[in-house]
Amino acid sequence: MSGHVFHTGHEELHGVTVVVESPSGMTWVGRYHERTDRGVLLHDVATHDPATSDQSRAAWIQRQLKFGVRIDQKHLTVPNPDAARIVRLAAWEPVSG
């Protein structure tokens, strides 16, 4: 339906809550703003670090889905090499295999 998106001229994911997955195992959930040469700029960001969390990535994301995004940082730029996979939170599924 047209007419309900006000942020014209932005990328498709602009304003959408996404999951950003890193090859290192780090995961971020936040509202996508834009991707530049510096990386992916997210707003209202929750961070999952497998080195310090007692939850798996999948369990942590499921919790964000059910109870909402628990914000750790207002803004974060994820360097491009770390932003290996970006998907909408609402559509997130673990990578099989």
Binding site: V5, H7, G15, V16, G68, V69, R88, L89
Partner: protein, 147 residues
């Protein structure tokens, strides 16, 4: 910082014209959401264009369904700050986001629509999800059976 009232008034009216009562103060919220039976919907309104621009028409569509909550309320995030914070205290298990929708039955949150479930979806799809929740939790038959 809240936007000028003149700018947000149409966004308030887009909800209240469908019989949704706006809660502007802490006292309003406590009077509406205090202990009680039945089904209650709280719509957390928002200026945010992308998501709220889809959520408001979605709620309007859903409220045209034959089955709907007995009580309908709204607070405006970013505008009526104290009332919104108080309303969120009634569904504190869920992280704050706006727009969002909380559906209560007999004082318990039985369904919650987060902002991430609204973003990028057409109002018809959001409304269909709300209607499914209304049918599940607000049908008099099911409510009487305690399902």
């Amino acid at each position: 910082m809240p936007y000028h009232e003149m700018m947000v008034r149409p966004m308030r009216e887009e909800i209240t014209r469908h019989g949704v009562q706006e809660l502007r103060t802490v006292a309003d919220v406590d009077a509406a959401l205090g202990p009680g039976d039945g089904t209650v919907l709280v719509f957390v309104n928002s200026v945010c264009g992308c998501a709220a621009g889809g959520a408001r028409p979605a709620l309007a569509l859903a409220l045209s369904h034959s089955v709907k909550p007995q009580q309908l309320y709204t607070v405006f995030a970013g505008q009526d700050l104290d009332a919104t914070a108080r309303a969120r205290s009634y569904f504190a298990d869920f992280q704050p986001s706006s727009p969002s929708v909380a559906l209560f039955r007999d004082g318990e949150v039985v369904h919650f629509v987060h902002r991430h479930m609204i973003e990028g979806r057409p109002p018809q799809a959001i409304a269909a999800d709300l209607v499914a929740a209304f049918d599940k939790y607000c049908s008099p038959h099911r409510a009487a059976k305690g399902k």
